[in-house]
């Protein structure tokens, strides 16, 4: 194996169920239900998934949901904005902890 991540592994995802089939079935049934059209469209859910994929930095998910977004009718501008939403939340989460930094610094500083 040259790298830990191999694109050919993605289609093998369902093999994860071989040694724990009941749990896998529950997971995949749930997964399928989550992404079905509901109050949100399938297209909107794929955009959310793409943003989350960038947050968890999962190459499989980025591959799968880039394709899914295009196949659900999204365009690159929408997908880029979705990634920026993930970036903003990740960056914002770091930045908002600056308040803690300021609180601590305030407590111990003259």
């Amino acid at each position: 194996m040259e790298t830990y991540y191999d694109p050919q592994d993605l289609p093998k995802f369902e093999e994860i169920g071989r040694d724990a089939p009941e749990l896998a079935k529950k997971f995949f049934d749930y997964y399928q239900a989550v992404f079905a059209e509901g109050e949100l469209t399938e297209r909107e859910k794929a955009l959310i998934a793409l943003a989350v994929a960038h947050t968890v930095q999962c190459p499989y998910c980025i591959d799968a949901y880039t394709r899914a977004c295009l196949e659900k009718g999204s365009n690159l501008a929408e997908m880029s904005e979705a990634v920026h939403v993930a970036v903003a939340i990740r960056g914002g989460a770091s930045l908002v902890h600056g308040v803690q930094m300021r609180n601590i610094a305030g407590r111990i500083s003259l």
């Binding site: 297209r43 196949e71 659900k72 009718g73």
Partner: protein
């Protein structure tokens, strides 16, 4: 269908087999399906390969440099055929049909012969040059306009159809609406093709979104939307090969094989006539040069419509029409 024939392993793709893909003919056999002709109700007329655009997904490689145009004699043969067989639908396509100098005659002579006459338009050829009269001609003859609009995003649409096309398309749609198209008995339908090596979105969901966005941004309304996959032939196939996407795309189409889509396939109920008058089961077999009934037949020699149950020529590009909900 002859089973030995259906299982032969040489479903070539212009001389090149795609590894890991079951030949289409074999897929049909595995599912116990025979793809045969039904009652023929539609005549598709490809009036030529000349086009003002050179779209990257075009299976016919139509473009400004092509010179293949249906002449007046072939137009007369098409009209005679329509008069004789009285189809339910006649579907005029190209290239850009608007660039055929015989289009006016074709529309005026076909219109009284068929309840539904359709014109496939790229939306730019309809309004460019001195062709404004074509919109009036379509309106006056109640022609259904089926227009290509792959995306609501300018960059994405133009990656497929060329620079400057999107805004012109929007302007033409607005003009058609102003004439009553899409908001009266005049029917305006949209066709969405993916802008790359991926499958089309859900037709129903896309129609809903296009309706909302086109109305909100540009005040445009339409009747129906059709989402079709790109056919791996012609210019699109060349791009698939160059970009290294051919095998993955073919695998995607083959994996989406839906046996339930087969009975509704358009090739079962249409005959397609090329610019020079020869007959095919569909426009894709025309691009692939797979003639109707296995031999080249000119429309002027057509003795009768294909008998229900007659075989349909197939190749691996047929996976396009059986993927997912199908291509009807």
């Amino acid at each position: 269908m002859d089973q030995t024939q259906s299982l032969r392993p040489s479903e070539e793709f212009r001389g090149r087999r795609i590894p890991h893909i079951e030949p289409f003919r074999q897929s049909l056999a595995h599912h116990g399906i025979e793809l045969t002709r039904g009652q023929t109700t539609t005549l598709q007329v490809n009036v030529g390969l000349i086009c003002n655009q050179a779209c990257h997904h075009c299976h016919l490689e139509a473009g400004p440099d092509r010179r293949e145009v249906m002449d007046a004699r072939t137009v007369a043969a098409v009209v005679a055929c329509a008069d004789r067989f009285r189809f339910q639908v006649i579907d005029i396509t190209g290239g850009a049909p608007e660039l055929n100098p015989n289009l006016r005659e074709l529309i005026e002579r076909l219109s009284p012969l068929v309840p539904r006459l359709m014109l496939r338009s790229n939306l730019t050829a309809l309004a460019e040059g001195n062709r404004d009269f074509l919109m009036d001609l379509c309106r006056d003859n109640g022609v259904v306009i089926v227009a290509s609009l792959p995306s609501l995003n300018e960059a994405q649409a133009e990656s497929q159809r060329g620079r400057g096309v999107f805004r012109k398309s929007i302007a033409t749609l607005q003009r058609l609406n102003a004439m009553g198209y899409g908001r009266s008995h005049l029917e305006l339908d949209l066709v969405v093709n993916p802008t790359g090596a991926f499958l089309p979105p859900s037709q129903e969901q896309t129609a809903r979104r296009f309706r909302q966005v086109l109305e909100r941004k540009w005040g445009i309304t339409f009747n129906h939307l059709f989402a079709f996959a790109n056919v791996p032939l012609g210019r699109f196939r060349h791009w698939l090969e160059r970009s290294g996407n051919l095998e993955t795309y073919m695998a995607r189409l083959a994996a989406g094989f839906n046996p339930c889509a087969v009975p509704g396939l358009m090739c079962r109920t249409m005959i397609s006539v090329s610019w020079d008058g020869f007959l095919f089961d569909c426009d894709f077999n025309l691009a692939r040069a797979l003639p109707l009934g296995g031999r080249r037949t000119h429309i002027s020699e057509l003795g009768d419509l294909p008998a229900p149950g007659a075989p349909i020529a197939v190749s691996d590009h047929c996976y396009t029409c059986t993927a997912g909900a199908g291509f009807t």
